[in-house]
């Protein structure tokens, strides 16, 4: 596999059962992820953006193995992870790590930082004793913390430092692919920038590949090489960053971009807000799942679900306006 693809997800689906229906006859499912495919390339960041509840975090959970998908495959360097048996899969999982959103609750308040960062080495039998200490020290230095921080507890750190510790924990086993699940949305804006730069810096030096999940378009724009826009459990548009931000094609992507506030008060634009709320993922609208809120919806949108079609080099859109019905 030398096409530079580290992770390939094909047709991932994850349904959560949400109790039974009104009379207890049929089960009701929340279709959190409903057929998602993408590629994560070597040394690149794939930004996954969408509103809250669109299933973007669930995609991260599926990749990291915290949830099992109902359907679909995950390939790591061409190898199907789902098909591996227990021990092989564990070894494979080491290559895919996650940094969670809330730096506070991602750390055990009763666990010393040295152990919180070093335990992946021990449970995976990669190092023992003094070797663990040495590698934790090196890893902390890598994320901008000092060696004496090893002997402290999480509550002694600021939010930004805690997120650095979480990043150190995720990276210490030397993963190839890191899922960053909104790693900065719980932080102050000034600290956000530091963490984003750290993440980019680590990528430049070590060649990590990232899946960066966020609801914040400006953050996504800052870190991503490619961007995928998700709506109600599906990716509706994906393109290289520059192309997506200069020429968004899907009406939903355009609406998202129009909602980003501009720091220029003279360029006051009318806010093109999306009408209505995100529909419940229990009752996904038929046809194009975006049509009830789409200002450009055609008749066909109500009945036929659009498929992804190329609209430029490496630019894909699932929308009837661009011929997605063919």
């Amino acid at each position: 596999m030398s096409d530079g693809v580290v992770i390939r997800a094909v047709g991932l689906k994850k349904y959560f059962s949400a109790g039974s229906g009104l009379w207890g006859r049929r089960k009701v499912f929340v279709k959190a992820v409903d057929g998602v495919s993408f590629e994560g390339r070597q040394g690149e960041t794939l930004g996954l953006v969408g509103e809250s509840g669109c299933g973007k975090s669930t995609v991260g959970m599926l990749l990291s193995g915290l949830h099992r998908p109902e359907a679909g495959r995950v390939f790591y360097r061409g190898q199907d992870i789902m098909k591996l048996d227990g021990r092989e899969r564990r070894r494979m999982r080491r290559n895919i790590q996650v940094v969670f959103q809330d730096p506070q609750s991602s750390l055990d308040p009763r666990m010393l930082i040295k152990k919180a960062v070093g335990f992946p080495l021990e449970v995976n039998r990669l190092a023992r004793g003094a070797e663990v200490t040495r590698r934790v020290e090196a890893m902390l230095a890598e994320v901008g913390l000092r060696p004496e921080h090893m002997y402290r507890y999480p509550h002694e750190f600021s939010g930004g430092q805690r997120q650095r510790i979480n990043i150190a924990r995720a990276l210490i086993t030397g993963p190839q692919f890191v899922v960053l699940d909104e790693p900065t949305s719980a932080l102050d804006v000034s600290v956000q920038a530091q963490i984003l730069n750290l993440i980019k810096d680590l990528q430049r030096r070590r060649g990590y590949s990232y899946l960066f999940i966020s609801h914040d378009l400006s953050v996504i724009r800052h870190v991503s090489h490619r961007v995928a826009v998700m709506y109600l459990g599906r990716i509706v548009e994906s393109a290289p960053r520059r192309q997506l931000f200069s020429a968004p094609r899907h009406p939903y992507t355009r609406a998202l971009m129009a909602a980003v506030p501009t720091p220029d008060p003279t360029r006051r634009r009318p806010l093109a807000l999306l009408p209505g709320d995100v529909p419940s993922p229990v009752h996904i609208p038929p046809g194009c799942r975006f049509h009830p809120r789409c200002s450009e919806a055609l008749d066909v949108c109500r009945h036929v679900e659009p498929t992804e079609v190329p609209v430029g080099s490496d630019h894909w859109v699932a929308c009837h306006l661009w011929g997605g019905g063919a």
């Binding site: 959103q101 055990d108 010393l112 992946p120 995976n124 086993t173």
Partner: protein, 305 residues
Amino acid sequence: MPSSTPRSGIDPMEWWRRFQEEHAWQLREFVFTLGLLRRNPSAVAGSCIIAAMVFLALAAPWIAPHDPIRISLSERLSSPSWHHLFGTDELGRDIFSRVLFGARISLRIGLLVVGIAGGLGTVLGAVAGYVGGKLDDAIMRCLDIVLSFPSLVLAMALAAALGPSLRNAIMAVAFVMIPKFARLVRGEALAVREKPFIAAAKVSGAGHGWIILHHVIPNCLSSVIVLGTLVVGETILIASSLSFIGLGAQPPTPEWGAMISVGRKFLMDQWWYATFPGCFILVTVIGFNIFGDALRDVLDPRIRR
């Protein structure tokens, strides 16, 4: 030339410095907790009683004026005097000495029972709460059966079935106490297992056993300590009750409950026989209970800061 090569042995000063560094937070927290306890009157009273009991128990061989099981029929049933501070029993044994040695037995029972029940209960509760599902149901329903009996009645039945002896009484009481710890820890484990750091541990390759041992149990420990303190008091009471009805300590062991049991027959004419062991049970149990209550208040994070 003095070289700075590290010595192979462990230097105690170096070890202590290291310990302080690694556990600085816990030490600070511990000192802070002590400060809060000192300002809490019932904690002070409780800990004084417990400390006094522990001292009496440990020092019994030295401060007891007589051998607790030496029979002296010429002095039988003599009333309290300077020679026999609490008087003597029907075989002329010194009740003060017997009460002091009884403190050893009662405290040992309390600690053993809390150790056994606390250990087993914590593990069962942590596994039930963390794993959940059918295993949780199986463990907790079994413990509910135990819990559905009044603890004294069940302990009596078990002790009677196992045969009257101090060891069997300890096992019976420990068994009865397991569900208390298990339920408490299960509740906390349910909350802990949803925390993102558990997900992080899973992604990093930690197994369920590792997570229970290093995440779930440490996070439940402070509540277990509080409950343990309260259970010591209850245990002493139940163990004394078992001895009182003849299912615990056997003669000539100077156990408080057993002493009251015999002394009851002489209560009308020799009030001191049953009264002094009874007072010691009362004071010890109250000491552990009020200290446990105070500890719970002090460790409660909502009150703490």
